[in-house]
């Protein structure tokens, strides 16, 4: 059996109908992962026992499969009375899993700021808060913008994992069509192409952003 273009096109609206779900899951998870990752890195900088514990947690998160996290949150937590919807579990799983990676992004982004920057801020008598807001944070954001964008693409590509929790994202929809019609090629190709298009557009945006940020800070 060949590739039925008409059938492929007829599956597009259904699959594309889930693009909002895929994008919003990816976006919320990326924001969650960034928030947790940032917190991890800030706490890790405290050092001592707390810092070591956080370092261990980050390594632990990064060395366990995403699927294990999703199953754990979905099937194990209810035993302890915590019952969450599949969408919540999916977003939580993605956020936690990628927070370990984003903690490293924040670390690199902050460490790349020369020590002289905060010294200059102190020499100018800026308060610690103002130094963070006006001197450190903008430079950190500039440093992390590109890697953060790349991780957003990674998270986007990981959203199909949520199919195991029956979250209606794009690949799940494609699979639904496939199992109803017993035709796998067309819906999967369509879903794949939509992912490809999304990733290309976002990567292009990230590259442009990066170039603009580099131009401003040219040294």
């Amino acid at each position: 059996m060949g590739f039925d273009l008409a059938f492929a096109l007829s599956s597009v609206p259904t699959i594309l109908g889930a693009i909002g779900m895929t994008l919003s899951v990816a976006l919320v998870s990326c924001i969650g992962a960034a928030a947790i990752g940032f917190l991890f890195d800030v706490v890790r900088r405290v050092g001592g026992f707390v810092g070591l514990t956080i370092s261990f947690v980050i390594d632990f998160i990064r060395s366990t499969p995403l699927l294990a996290w999703l199953y754990f949150l979905y099937f194990v937590l209810p035993f302890y009375g915590i019952r969450l919807g599949s969408l919540t579990v999916g977003v939580m799983g993605l956020s936690l899993y990628y927070s370990g990676y984003l903690a490293e992004v924040f670390k690199a982004g902050i460490d790349a700021i020369p020590k002289g920057q905060s010294e200059a801020a102190r020499a100018l008598s800026l308060s610690r808060r103002d130094a963070v807001i006006y001197v450190i944070a903008p430079q950190m954001l500039r440093n992390i913008a590109a890697p953060l964008g790349n991780y957003f693409v990674s998270i986007l590509k990981a959203t199909p994992y949520l199919a195991v929790l029956a979250v209606p994202e794009m690949l799940g929809r494609a699979f639904d069509i496939a199992s109803e019609t017993y035709r796998y090629t067309e819906p999967l190709v369509v879903a794949g192409l939509i992912f490809l298009a999304l990733a290309l557009v976002i990567s292009h945006g990230v590259k442009r952003l990066e170039r603009r940020l580099l131009a401003v800070g040219a040294r």
Binding site: P114, G116, Q117, E119, A120, R122, A123, L124, S125, L126, S127, D130, Y134, V135, P138, Q139, R142, V216, G217, A218, R219
Partner: protein, 249 residues
């Protein structure tokens, strides 16, 4: 120079250790209002450490340091007020790369001195004119040469109207052809009556405007003399030796 007024900096028996390393060893130094003091000495002798103590960027373990009449570290509010009377210029410029030249200068005016944006920009422009770089106000630091960046850094430090300027090897990171434009600004500043402590090995500058030259080695001030005597060949053998090596360059 007014003899009766209190010195801006009065350091007595300052000591600092990094672990077992004795970086400042019983340092005494007073700087009168309007004076220009040049600090020199070999690498690792504690010059940076000393001037970083003066504006509170660095800490010390023993001794007293009075800045603009305030003993640092006794009262937090008074210490902050005294620190605000100092401006610092670093070897590596340390301009904020994400801000324009003008914003580099207005940031502290707005956030520390509480000036309005218009006031801050007016003040900043007057200092950028003083260091002869007003046309770059809208540029970013990365678009300037090293000499231009250092002049902006001087303007930025001057914006808060400090009574004391600290320079830590302001020309060491510069290509030779840019050193002069920065030194010219510093000379003009000294002639204008600004109180300055300059860590530098630019002996031409020292000869021209320094009231006092201080020679440090191993955390001690080994020699201090009015510039005339220092270059006249009197003084500690170590500082004479140092002078000979520096002047040969």
């Amino acid at each position: 120079m007014s003899q009766q007024s209190e010195p801006i900096v009065d350091i007595q028996g300052l000591n600092k250790w990094y672990g077992a390393l004795h970086v400042l060893n019983d340092v005494d130094l007073t700087v009168a209002s309007g004076a220009c003091v040049v600090v020199c000495g070999p690498s690792g002798s504690g010059k940076s450490t000393l001037i970083r103590c003066v504006n509170g960027l660095g800490s010390y373990q023993k001794g007293t340091l009075r800045l603009a009449g305030t003993t640092l570290g006794v009262n937090a509010r008074e210490t902050a007020a005294a620190r605000r009377q100092t401006g610092m210029v670093f070897q590596s410029f340390n301009l904020f790369p994400h801000l324009t030249v003008l914003s580099n200068c207005t940031l502290a005016l707005q956030r520390v001195a509480g000036r309005s944006r218009a006031e801050a920009e007016h003040i900043a422009m007057s200092h950028l004119e003083k260091v002869r770089i007003p046309e770059k106000a809208k540029s970013y630091p990365g678009q300037l040469s090293g000499g231009q960046q250092q002049r902006v850094a001087i303007a930025r430090a001057l914006c808060l109207n400090p009574r004391l300027m600290l320079f830590d090897e302001p020309t060491s990171a510069l290509d030779p052809e840019m050193i002069k434009e920065v030194l010219d600004v510093m000379v003009a500043l000294a002639r204008d009556g600004m109180t300055m402590i300059c860590v530098t090995h630019e002996m031409g500058f020292a000869r021209e405007v320094a009231d006092q030259v201080v020679f440090m080695d191993g955390g001690c001030i080994l020699d201090r003399a009015p510039a005339r005597d220092f270059f006249g060949g009197s003084g500690h053998p170590r500082s004479r030796h140092f002078l000979n090596t520096v002047l040969k360059h």
